[in-house]
Each structure stands twice: as C-alpha cells, then as structure tokens.
C-alpha cells in the first residue's frame, strides 16, 4: 500500500502516540470523531453552495456570486446570518420540545457516520451489526420531526410533520428491503466485510461491485429513490412544500435552530449516500485494477460526490409529487419490487454454481429479466389503475 493511502490512519496513530498508553484509545476515538465532524461539516457548507450553484446553472442563471470569488464564501455569510438571527419561539409553543427537536434530529445523525468505511482501515468502529446500527440511530429522526411539528402549535407545522412521518415510515420499508440482498450475498452485517466482498476483479480488471449485478443495479435504484424520500428532498419534499404548507414542520423555527434542522437533513443525506457507496458502489475500491494506486479515500470521496451531484440534478429536474401518489408509489411499486429483488438475489446466488460456456452473460440476462419483467408489468398495471376518490372516515 502506498503511503498516501494510509496517510490519515498514520496521522491518527502518530497523534495518539504522543499521549500515555492508558488514554490512547480515548484519544484515537476523539480524533476519529473530530475528523468525521470536520470533514462532513465542511461538506455540509460546500454542498449548500454547490446545490445553489448547480441549480442555478441548470435553471439558466448564475446562483450566488456576490460573496467572495465566484460566491465561494457564501456558506460563511449564511452561517453568520443564521447565528445572528433572532431566535423566535411562538408564545403558545411547548418550549421544551420546541428546543429539543433540532437536537434530537441532529445528534443521532452524526452517530451513523461511525460505521461507514471511508477508506482502507478508515472506519471509526467495526461493529458486528454495523448496518443495523446505522438504521437504529436513524430511527430517532421521525420522533424529532414529530416533536418539531407538534410543539410549534401551528397547523402548518403539524400537517408538515404528519406528512413527513407518513413518508418516512413508508419509504423506510423499501430502503431496508433494498439493502437485504447485499447482506444476503455478502453474508455479513458488517460494512467492512461488505466492502471486502466487492474487492475482487473480473473481466480484465473490472471491479466486482454489487451495482454490476442485476439485483445490485435494481437495488441501487430502489435505494436511491427511498433515500431521496427519507431525507425529504425533492421530488419528495412534501413535508416542506413551501407552496402548500409554508415550510411544514420548520414554519415556526428561525435562526440557529432552523440551521440545525438543515444540518440534520443534509447529514442524513450524506450518511445514506455513504451507505449507498459502501453497499452498491464498492466502497473505497477502485473501479479498475490498474487504478488501484489511487488512494482509497479518494475513491470513496469521488463516488460520494457523484451521488450528491445526482441528488441535486434530480432536484432540479423533477416536480413535486402529491401525497397520495407518493404513498401509492412506495407501497404499490417500490415495496413489491424490492421483495422481488430478494428473489433475484437468491437466483443469482444459486446460478453461481452453473458451469458451461458463456455462462456469465446468460446468467446476467436471466436475472435481469427476473427483475425487469415485473417492473414492466407492475408499471403497466398501475398506470391505468387510479385509486378511487378518497372517503374520509374521521375528518368529517
């Protein structure tokens, strides 16, 4: 391994080496936490700028370009503005919950980064049930959104919170189900094992990432759709639909608390993007064998950046869905497809033992057909079938 590949690990070891042996584990843990917080905190600032710039470019305008060269210092100006703004708490609000909600949203999200492998030997902790940990710490966000919406004592806030919770619960199912095939094929819940399982090469040096298999490709697409909805981003941004319900559960928040909500949402997006890279795009492995000399953390960062760009692109492209379309899309389309994807992964596993000439393309096409045909039929079947007009049972 080249020195550049392990440079962060080496720096961490050297820095921890200055301390007495008894506190060294503590020091290296603190260093790992500080590293993650510094990198992804900066990432948050840069992504807000990049998002506005890219959106502007796609909508044929400039985007922020007043602060600093090319508007590069815009995040700094935003931060100063957010920090110095007056923090308004509504008179009738539930003060304690109103204060706690942004914290409950933001703090657990940081924990999710602990298990992600950012490079060779670069994950903060190696948990045996790493992926379970990832989803477990994310489960507090629904409660936080509810706390924010309910404590504001505002109808828009409550409607936004209810929308957000309905959406998060619905899309959590396909999100987790689309991860299961990866766990089945890797035979482990530990993220480092999953990355290692994608670390070999085939066909003259092409990497064996999960995304190059039929179930992996379908899984990645399902995962990204569900992840967009989980992090309340367009086209699934109904909870904050500003043309409908002002800003949803954020309506009564201002100043630093508002910024904390945004921090939490972007960090959630980063965490889930990092998970997508780890599970489907080979983690920190290079795409070709002859590119192995490039440091592993660079590959993670490159794939991460590409996926973030994809999310911004989708936001610039697609209009917002209606709530019933959103829930139908999840329950009638994504959930059945992700269940079928489990069967495709099983078929991929069993056909792995086949031995005859030109087996690889045949196996690939067979498994791809197993997921593509249900996709086609399900899409056709649902296209004409509009749900009947809703009957309100409790609202009258």
């Amino acid at each position: 391994m080249s020195g550049l590949d392990q440079i962060f690990v080496w720096i961490g070891h050297r820095a921890a080496g200055w301390f007495p042996a008894s506190v060294q584990p503590l020091v290296s843990a603190v260093l790992a936490i500080a590293g993650v917080m510094a990198v992804f905190g900066t990432c948050f600032a840069l992504t807000t700028l990049a998002e506005r710039k890219v959106l502007g470019r796609m909508q044929n305008r400039f985007g922020p370009n007043r602060v600093g060269p090319y508007g590069l210092l815009q995040p700094l100006a935003d931060a100063v503005k957010m920090l110095t703004k007056e923090d308004i708490v509504p008179f009738s609000a539930d003060k304690t919950l109103h204060f706690l909600a942004p914290l409950v949203l933001t703090v657990p999200v940081w924990l999710a980064f602990a298990v992600l492998p950012f490079g060779r030997n670069m994950s903060a902790i190696n948990l045996d049930a790493g992926i379970l940990f990832f989803f477990a710490v994310g489960s507090a966000s629904e409660l936080a959104v509810f706390m924010a919406g309910w404590s504001s004592q505002n109808k828009y806030s409550l409607v936004g919170a209810m929308r957000a919770i309905a959406q998060m619960i619905s899309y959590e199912v396909p999100l987790v189900l689309s991860v299961v095939p990866v766990l089945m094929l890797a035979g482990s819940l530990e993220l480092n094992d999953i990355v290692a399982a994608q670390g070999t090469y085939t066909f003259g040096g092409l990497a064996r990432w999960n995304v190059f298999t039929p179930w992996g490709l379908a899984g990645l697409i399902l995962f990204l759709i569900a992840a967009t909805a989980e992090s309340n981003r367009s086209p699934f941004d109904l909870p904050e639909g500003e043309s409908e319900i002002i800003a949803g559960f954020l309506t009564e928040y201002s100043g630093f608390k508002y910024a904390l909500f945004f921090l939490g949402e972007y960090l959630g997006l980063f965490a889930v993007t990092g998970l997508a890279v780890t599970l489907f795009l080979g983690g920190w492995h290079a795409p070709f064998q002859w590119l192995e000399w490039v440091p592993s953390w660079f590959w993670f960062a490159a794939k991460f950046g590409a996926l973030i760009f994809l999310f911004i692109w989708v936001r610039a492209t697609l209009p917002r869905l209606r709530l019933d379309q959103l829930l139908n899309f999840s329950w009638r389309f994504l959930v059945p497809l992700s269940l079928i994807n489990l069967l495709v992964a099983a078929a991929w596993y069993w056909t792995g033992a086949w031995k005859f000439p030109v087996v690889a393309p045949i196996r690939w096409l067979l498994c791809a057909a197993l997921i593509a045909l249900p996709y086609h039929w399900l899409g056709r079947a649902l296209r004409g079938a509009m749900p009947p007009p809703r009957k309100y049972i409790y609202a009258e």
Binding site: F135, S139, A140, L143, E396
Partner: protein
Amino acid sequence: MLNEIAFLLCAALTLAGAVAAMMLRNLVHCALCAAGAFAGLAAIYLQLDAEFVGFAQLLIYVGAIAILIVFTVLLTRGAEIQPGAASSASSWWKGVPVGALVLACLIWSIMASPSLVRLPSPNVHAPVKQIGEQLMNQFVMPLETIGLLLTAALLGAVVIGLREPRTSEPNS
C-alpha cells in the same frame, strides 16, 4: 467503576423516563418520555454487550412503537387532559394488589432463574451470525409462527381500515 457509572446513568434514564411517562399530564409528553425509557433500555442492552438486541430495541421501540403511540394519541384527540380532572380514578386502590402481584411474580422468577449466577461471558465470534443460525435452525418454528401471527395482524388491520362507514353516507 466506569461500567457502573454508565449503568447507573442508563438505569436512571430508563427509570426517569418510565416514571415521567406515568406521571405527566400531557399525553404527548408521556409518549415521548416512554420513548426515552425505551432508549435507556437499549443503552443497558448495549452495555451488556448485547449489540443485536440493543439495536433491535432502538429500531423497533424508538423507531416504530413510539411513533405508533404518538399517532394513536393524536388521532384520538386526547392530547390534553382537562385541568379540572381528578388526578387518578376513584378505583385506584384496586391497582395496588395487581401491581404487588406482578412485582412478586417478577421477583420470584428472577430469583429462581440461573441468570443471577455471574459467569464469565463467553467470547463469541460474530454473534449476529450465531443469532441468525439459531433462529434458522433451532428456533425456526417459533420464528415462523410469529411471522404468521404478524401477517394475520397486518391483514386484520387492513380489513379494519378498509371498512366503509355505512351510517355516514346520508350525511354527506
């Protein structure tokens, strides 16, 4: 020493959450305190090195059951208790023997169980894998039965949710 402090903190969080969930006057606060108690319990599991159980506790209780309770409270519109209402029902004393009985049962079964004998914990490699193997081999029947039961419950919930209100038709 550090372990004991951590345990005391987790236990205090769990107990405080549970007591607050019973004592507070606002049902939404109660539900959120119950979620806090669930999280404290998960922390105790984690402290006992039961990673899988701890994460499952967080995922299921904080992520699903707390949300379910909150939704129930909101949909039944009972979030606020009227200020004039009595702090407890007049038949509260009936609960005392029941509570004592349950406590006695718990104490008896805990004292009779072998879990009080402290053994050095076996150093298991990949405990999640072992849990999976046990579930798929030794405990496959209970697992399948629970799955069937949950599916039946799910279908029942859907059937209840689908039922059209016949009486409210003329009004609209």
